[in-house]
Symmetry: C2
Subunit: 313 residues, 2 copies
């Protein structure tokens, strides 16, 4: 993968689904001069209008077919539940030789759906591991993907055109600042189940459990949230539809890592019940090492409290 970003220029990019990810990629491509023209389509007419007036896209289309007409790059950046119908649309309407990438957080289901797309359309499943808790075209920004990893899970094809398409997809992500990793879809779905899907499930669960605790008022939960709770509310504020679709489409891997989590939780529950301080201390001591590694890898700030309290100084 030696192609440099200088060589990368698409004539027309079509962004399908103009939310946080689609809008950020459009901004990043514009900033990098990676496309002559960026068209956008979203099922929500209001989103289309906002994306256009924000300058996220150069033009909007009234349909998938209209958006991808003449496009040599198609970006599918919708919740993953739409992937079947998007693949049917790509099969019917995408140009021969077009590179199609998706940005879904689940990849096994995408590989399944990609069977609907004819071979002349070059579909490379991608997952940029980046995001914020905000949604919609207004939430997009050009540097979202910088220093983050993007995982490619190419389809089971060895033809030259497809291999070139994988190279080009990798070059696109590198051009917007990401590191690129290639792996198979099943391994992706397990690795992301533990690093992303389970954390979101746990955060949603904790917020729900707090909401249900009649004996502690919501006002108190808000007041004392700096004790730890507020950290969980960030990812629990993520887009509900996107996350519903993730769990519906990565069931097996999520249930597998959830099983590990509940085993570990049962161990700690037992240690609390029986006053076993040694076990608690042993488990609690593991946290610092992995955080240090994450900071060292440039994936996290080393400022206390994420640096969020600097305004207080």
């Amino acid at each position: 993968m030696t192609e440099t970003s200088d060589a990368l220029k698409f004539r027309r990019a079509a962004v399908i689904g103009i939310g946080l990810i689609g809008a950020s990629l459009a901004h990043a491509m514009r900033a990098g001069g990676l496309a002559e023209r960026i068209a956008g389509f979203d099922l929500d007419a209001d989103v289309r209008a906002r994306a256009l007036s924000l300058g996220v896209v150069d033009e909007t289309a009234e349909s998938f077919a209209e958006a991808v007409k003449g496009a040599d790059l198609v970006i599918l950046s919708t919740p993953v539940g739409a992937i079947d119908s998007l693949c049917a649309e790509a099969h019917a309407h995408a140009e021969n030789g077009a590179l199609v990438v998706d940005t879904g957080s689940v990849k096994g289901a995408v590989a399944e759906a990609a069977r609907r797309v004819r071979r002349e359309v070059l579909f490379v499943p991608c997952h940029p591991v980046a995001g914020t808790e905000q949604s919609g075209p207004e939430a997009g920004f050009a540097t979202l993907f910088r220093q983050r990893w993007c995982i490619l899970t190419p389809l089971d094809r060895t033809d030259e055109a497809y291999r070139a398409a994988v190279e080009k997809a990798a070059a696109l992500w590198r051009a917007v600042g990401s590191h690129v990793e290639v792996m198979d879809a099943a391994h992706h779905d397990l690795a992301l189940a533990i690093t992303s899907h389970l954390p979101h499930l746990i955060a949603f669960t904790l917020v729900g459990a707090a909401d249900d605790l009649e004996s502690v008022a919501e006002a108190e939960i808000v007041k004392y949230s700096a004790g730890g709770f507020r950290d969980f509310t960030r990812i629990a504020a993520s887009d509900p539809i996107m996350w519903r679709d993730v769990f519906l489409h990565n069931r097996e891997a999520v249930l597998e890592v959830l099983g590990r989590f509940t085993e570990e939780l049962a161990l700690l529950q037992r240690a609390i019940r029986w006053g076993d301080g040694e076990t608690l201390k042993k488990v609690f001591t593991r946290g610092r090492a992995i955080r240090r590694a994450i900071v060292a890898a440039g994936q996290e700030t080393d400022a206390p409290n994420f640096g969020r309290d600097k305004k207080d100084a």
Copy 2:
């Protein structure tokens, strides 16, 4: 509680346990001119030496007794497991009329231990709901308590001297920038179990479960941690001894809220297994409202990703 911080000035404050909280309170008191002299004691001689050379305290003592001699304010800022022996020390050595505050995250156990302290010593249990994931005297900073809540759980005493001591403790916390709330210890322990103790337990558990998953390498967990996992590592990097002691001393409330959490988790697990998107969406939709309330209450930043990624821009 009308006393202003202008009127508040201690002759000698003794900080017992010079970690993040003790050092921060010393810095804040110095910044506010709240004490003529600040003495420090820590069981760890190295911590004592560092605290002195950092200027956290004006002097260090070789024992609890030496530190509190002549002190009209004693601050117990150790892990809560030390509270029994600290109360025995305070009983034996604190001056008559001295105000003693602790800073522990659990208050029922503190009230129990406070029975060991003679009535002439005025012990007001306190919990400043503030902190970072860092430890030791180097981690302390003067603004840690600003805009945070401090909860007072006064003992069951109605004498005038004690009521005045409660007023003075409240004035101290206000003078370092906190809002003050008064409640009974049992309610405190339940409210903090959900807003602080359970979130920490869950974070420690998730990091432990990730560590145990042989099929996903630690390097991958680090790389893809921006998908959500990294948020949990912040509080999982907190002091293991402090947190061991919290769980050993707030067992009932933690097990109660943990029960609620596992019920909610079982509900979501079942929804995932059976493809029940409606239930998932319903639970996931609750997160945004509570986060908005926390941001509105000044307890959280509204910047995406806690603002931690600004350096990337």
